[in-house]
């Protein structure tokens, strides 16, 4: 504020608005990770309607923005806890949200539209859907709308999780049409995703920029002011057209182009996959060794604990624990959990149960005469285990442990369900923006394959080196 007063005269001379309370300041804005065409990454840069809009408004109003790509729910949580100043994330203005946040004027009027495969001339409207199956996104307005007219027109609604998968099922013929948000569909069509829209837009929600209730009023006012300016001088329409009307030239066209453009994001995904696997495997080994020894212990309580642990984690799906740790645990403790912690807990506890069985089997497969010989020399139980039994057990366990490591590397892809930015997740983010599903999956598959092969070779080398 003091700074502004000093430079106030100069600001006025440059025909800037009068003191709007934001000029020269930097605001932290939270957003979703990928919600094309509102926010998505292109060549590693965050772009999209929301991004262009908030940047253009910031420039017009003389403030700076620092964008944090957090994911939709995380962005809202960050706003509630004042870790970000505002959120722009293709968010509909609803009465519930209005109770906790203050919204700007609507900056986008959304709606629902239906699309069919480009070469499909049989479906021209809802009447042609009789007896057919359509897809919509789980929990979306499109799903609600499709279900509301399904009875009237006699079609079935199947719910899927992602736009890209919905479009693939229409193109592959497992559904005849998709109900989705109009801007998302329009963007997809502009990207040549193989679909065309056939119905008019059914008016739906309006999107707004949000600040915490009663906070950052100057920022909110500046947003509204800037939005009005952009609308007045036509820049607003240019931004919309860029994403919704004209096919974007920047999208990769050839396979090599796609490979080059997606490679940096995929490599960062691979790095996360490898790091989370290696940390989790180290933890799983510690857990597995402990539980494995407890399982062969003479103490019935220790044995019971270890057996229960193994049974629980072998008897339940990995994905359940990912959800439990990431979504369930914070509700019990009231503390948000770091996604790495949730990921490592999930993978290492699951794998730890299998490692425990491998350890138990390995130790029990060592001739009991070995322990007796060592004990008869006067070495204690611990020393005998450490020097005589465990080294031999490890030799027998190594192939199974390598196997377990590879299973874990592949299973880590399940963490995409909680939004962990591993390799397959990055692949999804890429095809969510460019709709090149098959090719992107192919690239991701090859990267997994190479990573697994390399890890196998490395593990076998280590095995030969240390277990000769």
């Amino acid at each position: 504020m003091g700074m502004f007063l000093v430079f106030g005269g100069a600001g006025a001379a440059m025909a800037a608005p009068a003191d709007n309370g934001v000029e020269g300041k930097t605001f932290v804005i939270g957003t979703d990770t990928t919600f094309a065409p509102f926010e998505f990454r292109e060549n590693g840069e965050l772009t999209g309607i929301d991004m262009d809009l908030v940047r253009a408004i910031a420039e017009a109003e003389g403030f700076k923005v620092e964008i944090r790509s957090l994911g939709f729910n995380a962005a809202l949580q960050a706003l509630t806890s004042n870790q970000v100043d505002g959120v722009i994330a293709g968010m509909s203005i609803t009465d519930e949200r209005k109770q906790v946040y203050d919204f700007s004027e609507p900056y986008f009027e959304s709606g629902i539209q239906m699309a069919v495969a480009k070469n499909d001339d049989t479906i021209k409207g809802y009447e042609d859907l009789k007896g057919k199956t359509v897809v919509a996104k789980t929990g979306s307005e499109g799903e609600a709308y499709a279900k509301s007219i399904a009875g009237q027109y006699g079609f079935t609604v199947k719910s899927l999780d992602q736009s890209a998968t919905m479009y693939e099922s229409v193109k592959s013929g497992s559904a005849v049409a998709v109900f989705d948000d109009y801007p998302v569909l329009a963007y997809g069509v502009a990207q040549n995703n193989g679909l065309k829209t056939v119905t008019d837009k059914v008016p739906g929600g309006s999107y707004g920029f949000a600040v915490n209730k009663g906070k950052n009023t100057a920022l909110l006012a500046a947003f509204n002011d800037g939005l009005a300016k952009l609308k007045a001088d036509g820049d607003y329409q240019k931004i919309l057209d860029k994403y919704l009307a004209n096919p974007t030239a920047a999208q990769p066209t050839t396979f090599l182009d796609l490979l080059g453009k997606s490679f940096p994001a995929l490599m960062s995904g691979l790095k996360n996959t490898l790091v989370v696997t290696i940390i989790s495997f180290a933890v799983a080994m510690a857990i597995g060794l402990l539980a494995g020894f407890m399982k062969i212990s003479h103490n019935i309580v220790l044995r019971g604990i270890a057996t229960t642990f193994v049974n629980i984690f072998r008897g339940t799906p990995l994905l359940l624990w990912a959800f439990m740790f990431y979504f369930g645990l914070p509700q019990l403790t009231g503390q948000p959990i770091n996604i790495w912690v949730a990921g490592v807990l999930t993978l290492s506890l699951n794998s730890g149960a299998y490692v425990a069985e491998i350890v138990r089997g390995g130790i029990q497969s060592v001739d009991p005469g070995q322990l007796e010989a060592s004990r008869s020399l006067g070495l204690g139980y611990g020393k005998s285990m450490q020097k005589v039994v465990v080294p031999q057990a490890f030799k027998m366990m190594t192939p199974s442990l390598i196997n377990q490591l590879i299973i874990m590397l592949k299973d880590s892809s399940l963490l995409l369900a909680i939004g962990f930015a591993e390799l397959l997740y990055q692949g999804q983010q890429i095809y969510a923006a460019n709709f090149r599903v098959t090719e992107t999956l192919l690239i991701v598959g090859v990267i997994y394959f190479v990573a697994v092969m390399a890890l196998t070779k490395l593990a076998n080398y280590a095995d030969r080196r240390f277990n000769k």
Binding site: G369, E372, A373, S376, G378, K395
Partner: protein, 252 residues
């Protein structure tokens, strides 16, 4: 070599009193009383399942003892306050199936106990291992892996390993039973040398000829009790019990 009647006045190296051992409901040792003097060589013979191995394994408490007392070198191994690891360092044991540590070289097998129990540095332990290997005639095999040795060589290494802590007592459980006949001799020769040096030894054996030759005393076990015991000449030449006679008639 043989302990004369006068020498049996020496303090007992091993005293077994009323030893009983059960596996579940199955009582395998039904009250054993034996005294073994310092330097004495006792051979234990008897039919399969009579409890010979179990008796031997009770001496260094590889088996939990159900009742009675076993006193080794003055330590009552049934006393929970006695550090059994300490007792075991005074008692070397040789197994039927050698039980060499396959992930270590021959020398490392012998060095393990002295190094881990901090009785010697690695260098000292290695030098001692070489001496022991020389004693059993296998110096050139120091750096070989056990898997590359013949059965007889393995058992000689196992004896060297059991000697590494300089025990006063050696226990042998059918040390030659798993060997091809042509290799039995080389192992028996090592045991013979130990006896000549005055080592206190308990040998469970099926080699009656060897028991006769090397034993100061032969103990015949049957059904978990000591049926008869005495100098080899008496026990083999003039057995008193029917059970002994029956057994000897089958094996001699």
């Amino acid at each position: 070599m043989s302990a004369s009647p006068v020498e049996t006045q020496k303090p007992a190296k091993i005293t077994v009193k009323g030893l009983r051992k059960s596996f579940g409901a199955n009582e395998v040792l039904k009250g054993i009383d034996v005294e073994i003097a310092e330097g004495e060589v006792v051979c234990v013979i008897g039919p399969s399942g009579s409890g010979k191995s179990t008796l031997l394994r009770c001496l260094n408490k590889l088996e939990e003892i159900s009742a009675g007392h076993v006193i080794v070198d003055g330590f009552d191994v049934t006393d929970p306050k006695v550090d059994i690891n300490e007792v075991r360092r005074h008692v070397g044991m040789v197994f039927q199936h050698f039980n060499l540590f396959p992930h270590m070289s021959v020398a490392e097998n012998i060095m393990l106990a002295p190094v881990e129990l901090k009785k010697a540095t690695r260098v000292e332990a290695r030098a001692q291992a070489m001496k022991l290997l020389e004693r059993v005639g296998l110096k050139e095999k120091a750096d070989a892996r056990p898997a590359s040795l013949s059965g007889g060589q393995k058992q000689r290494v196992a004896i060297a390993r059991a000697l590494a802590m300089n025990p006063g007592i050696m226990l042998f459980d059918e040390a030659t039973s798993a060997l091809d006949p042509e290799m039995v001799g080389e192992v028996l020769q090592v045991i013979r040398d130990l006896a000549a040096e005055g080592m206190t030894m308990v040998l469970v054996t099926h080699e009656m000829g060897f028991a006769k030759e090397i034993g100061d005393r032969v103990v015949f076990m049957a059904d978990g009790v000591v049926c008869e015991s005495g100098p080899p000449a008496e026990l083999f030449g003039n057995p008193q019990q029917d059970r002994t006679k029956e057994f000897l008639s089958k094996v001699l």
